[in-house]
Amino acid sequence: MVSTTPHKGSRGAATRRTRLLFAVLGAAAILVGWWLLSLWVNPAIMASPADTARAIARLAWGDTLWIQLLITLKRLVLGLGIGVATGWVLGVLGGLEPRVRSFLEPLRWVGMTIPAVIIAVLAMLWFGLGDVTVIFMVTLIVIPTIYVNTVSGVLAIDRRLVEMGHVYRFSRRLLLTEVYLPGIASPAMAGLTLATGIAVRAVVLGEVLGAMDGIGHAFSRAMSYLETPELFAWIVVLLALMGLIEFGALRPLKRWAMRWRKAAE
């Protein structure tokens, strides 16, 4: 009988703590830099951290902040959701079938080449001002990024694993769930992170140009009336929203999707 005894090693908790400390120091450096700059620059064009905090408190005290935040979040989630789902499906199909990939190549090229502002103008022309314009714009901008990442993920899958699946007569479904989907998890998550950043920029641009509400519109309005602390307040709110999405959703999702890699470290 061949026998082996299991044994697992310890993790580098100290390294993680050090990395966290440096990340906090980096954030503090930005805050201090902003504060120093605000001491020298005209307050009409650069609000101080304290003025910005007061503006945030004022906006949060009423309904303004929460309503605009929810409107933007709804557009972001819908645009991103539709864009990611479409990009993943097309990416898997394109990765598996070269003819689909060739067929979609001109579309991918158009999608990645056309400037966001042109999509915004066309969407405004077709759908007017409001939700549909912004969601359409976000969706169209997200799809090519997700598609490209997913196709390269499918193409990078170890063919020997696919061959193993064929030898053991895996059904198409089993091949998809056991080989392809876990195999593309890493590039798909990288694509999702990239697409989320792009989507936030797109939703704000869409709201600046083609909506009468949302954070982008509120930002644009504050700029028009030279309400600089409020303008900076919306920037901070936007960054907080991005932070919430990245640390509250994307990173846990990535940890879950790549948990096997963590176990192997």
Partner: protein, 226 residues
């Protein structure tokens, strides 16, 4: 069980098999030996249907086939248990039953306690044992093995050869076993065929295995006194 009739196979301009004919009866354990590039792995890939011949016919009885690849080919994102269970789920077993069978085979390979380990946490030899467990778990009528012990030390190889012999005999499995070590094949096989580069085939006379081993050692070691 397996019949090759005038089979030829080339990769681009490289002719690997030429007019190859042989038959393997049910329950036989056939070792295929030969130098690198002689077409040993190609024969296994033709048997499993991964490759199609350029000429001639390959006939394989309708049966479950287990394949122990040269490298383990485990799904890195699945545990050892789920790697063994995956082909069983392809056969229609539910998850709990598949895992139960997989656990039994991992234990037979001496891997009890490692069920929840991922392939990257296992040594090369342990990963190959998981691969062997996966092949046997499907209860194959035909088992093909492509140099399955190349990642293992001599002691582990000897122990596993003993285990494999027991399992193969108790199940009456037809085995096609590729190796470049004749002594390994002599231990396991009923028949041994030697492939030469270019596709020629010679069946070794195993009536005196010790003589075959001596001849092979003398050829391998060259001028050294055996």
């Amino acid at each position: 069980m397996i019949t090759f009739l005038h089979v030829s196979k080339s990769f681009d301009s490289l002719k690997v098999l030429h007019d190859l004919s042989f038959h393997i009866a049910a329950g036989q354990i056939v070792g295929i030996v030969g130098p690198s590039g002689s077409g040993k792995t190609t024969i296994l890939r033709l048997i499993t249907g991964i490759l199609a011949p350029d000429g001639g016919t390959v006939t394989v009885a309708e049966a479950a086939v287990g394949y122990v690849f040269q490298e383990p080919r485990l799904l890195p994102w699945r545990t050892a248990l789920d790697n063994v269970a995956a082909p069983l789920r392809a056969q229609g077993l539910d998850k709990a039953r598949a895992r139960s069978v997989a656990s039994h085979w991992l234990e037979r390979m001496g891997l009890q306690g490692f069920e929840r380990y991922h392939p990257a946490e296992l040594s090369g030899g342990m990963a190959q044992r998981v691969s062997i467990a996966r092949a046997f778990a499907t209860e194959p009528s035909i088992l093909v093995m492509d140099e399955p012990f190349s990642n293992m030390d001599a002691t582990l190889k000897a122990a596993l050869l003993g285990i494999l012999q027991g399992i193969i005999k108790e199940r009456d499995t037809t085995v096609v076993y590729v190796t470049h070590e004749l002594t390994e094949a002599l231990q396991l096989a009923d028949r041994i065929v030697e492939l030469n580069p270019g596709g020629g085939l010679r069946e070794l006379d195993l009536s005196d295995r010790a003589a075959v081993a001596r001849e092979w050692l003398a050829t391998t070691l060259g001028d050294l006194q055996v």
